[in-house]
Symmetry: C2
Subunit: 308 residues, 2 copies
């Protein structure tokens, strides 16, 4: 199975309003609830691709109960097993407010519950147990209050000790610290790369990120696709055209595709083509965080991968 870690899971709400105006009262015309947090998104896409997945991290309170119920919903070719550690603090909500007049989204993210040191210890024990059965692990997203900032460095080291390949997708100080533990792959976007390295040139920034410890870097460039610097070479992969839609979850689909291609032993160019096609198919899907299977099949052979 593939293990994904989501320390700061969220109940994702999407609100549609005719037009967002600061300081006004809005009647929300449509509400959607779904499980949120990068690692949960990655696991749902992997299960939809046919992989058996296990999710861990934290969940608590009434929002945590709703999150777990939504996570269990739906049938997928692969299994999705809930190994989240129950805590007392309520799982945070994240709210995306979509302005129907422009299509643009305004995001409000709760900080997340305070995790105690006992709860962190419980998680570490669960993680160590789950690693024994894992073929790969993805460490995803921000850290909730109370979790040590060096958490990902510790989890990367434990994965290495268990000989499980590890992908890290986070930002800021947790990414900086995590890199020092030498993860097999990191998947930053351009904003995260610039914050980490100070460079807005993706090639320079990704190269610097490898020097900081990542064996491979797959930098997502939004509509421009992916730039990958790996021990086997450097590639750019781009969709055949601009895909309009909702980019929420597109990066998580890229993570799922990279993991899936990795475990199937695909060469890097094929992994990247899969990541770009799956990202674009996620942008095309009507619901944030899901992907349009037909669009995926259609786009996959059209992705251009070039050596850089």
């Amino acid at each position: 199975m593939i293990l994904t870690v989501t320390l700061n899971a969220a109940l994702d709400l999407t609100y549609r309003v005719p037009r967002l105006r600061p300081h006004a009262t809005h009647r929300v015309t449509h509400v959607a609830e779904r499980p949120g947090g990068k690692g949960l998104n990655v696991a749902r896409v992997l299960a939809a691709l046919g992989h058996d997945t296990v999710v861990t991290g934290f969940a608590g309170g009434p929002t945590g109960t709703t999150l777990r119920r939504l996570l269990a919903d739906g049938s997928r070719p692969g299994t999705l097993t809930d190994e989240l550690v129950t805590i007392t603090g309520p799982t945070r909500r994240t709210i995306g407010v979509v302005d129907e007049s422009t299509g643009e989204s305004t995001q409000l993210n709760e900080p997340g519950p305070e995790v105690t040191s006992e709860q962190w210890t419980s998680f570490c024990e669960r993680y160590a147990r789950l690693l024994r059965g894992a073929r790969a692990v993805a460490l995803c997203g921000s850290l909730p209050p109370g979790v040590p900032v060096g958490a990902y460095a510790q989890l990367v080291r434990e994965a290495h000790a268990a000989r499980v390949p590890v992908l890290l997708d986070t930002s800021g100080e947790p990414l900086r610290r995590g890199l020092a533990a030498r993860p097999d792959l990191v998947k930053p976007n351009t904003t995260e790369l610039a914050a980490l390295t100070g460079s807005t040139d993706p090639l320079r920034a990704a190269s610097d990120t490898r020097r900081r410890g990542a064996r491979a870097v797959a930098a997502t460039l939004g509509p421009d696709g992916i730039l990958a610097l790996t021990p086997d070479g450097t590639w750019r992969a781009a969709p055949p055209r601009r895909i309009p839609g909702n980019p929420t979850g597109a990066g998580d689909s890229a993570t799922a595709a990279l993991l899936s291609g990795w475990l199937e032993g695909l060469p890097w160019p094929d992994r990247l083509a899969r990541a770009v096609a799956l990202s674009a198919a996620t942008v095309r899907a009507p619901v944030a965080g899901e992907f349009d299977r037909e669009a995926y099949e259609e786009l996959l052979p059209q992705v251009k991968v070039t050596e850089a």
Copy 2:
């Protein structure tokens, strides 16, 4: 006991953000959850004033469970009994986003769950039973989807039949229809009055509202206090000075004060003074929907009531 009806109860969330910018991602710095919906606010204030209260309406789903737990929290001189009818649809959330740079609030209100005709019938049976023990009833707030637009007119008529005095605090078509059933008191604000009558002059609009069926009208004028047109006379009541703070729930405190003064047999000028002082003490309280007891005691003798 005093009965309050909240057909569209809400779990009220207050988010604080450093600065609200449309289309940006915000980290919420502080989250507060409280029971929401006008009738629930009125009941909480009445119980804090020492009255025994019963709340009814609808609650459902995980948000409904949280709402009921929060409603049961806290000790008050009066009792607050939960007689909400449980439904399958989840209780709506309302979110107030406070911009810390300006202090201004942006409101996002979910529409509420669809109420079935069976659920509406259950509510009507519960209401009829509760009316038998009620000294007064307050019908408060908007109607959720599925409840007939003439609901308040029906509930006003049933209160009359049971010889229970009835206060109506709603807006739009439910207010227009409710007025035809001749409620004892309505408590519109200036926006609601203007929408009902087409007049922005409060005296003219309140007078028109009485002609439409209300025995008495207590129009809340924001920081300018209250204008009351009653069978006993017409009065204006105003706070001694502008009270800075958060106006959320101030109107509901006015409703609670009017009910409380009514049941104590106070003359209209004393009821109005209580309503203005309690509203102002709510604006002054740090948490929306609660009131500052010291400010209330201090402001009460300072309210100016004049015959208009």
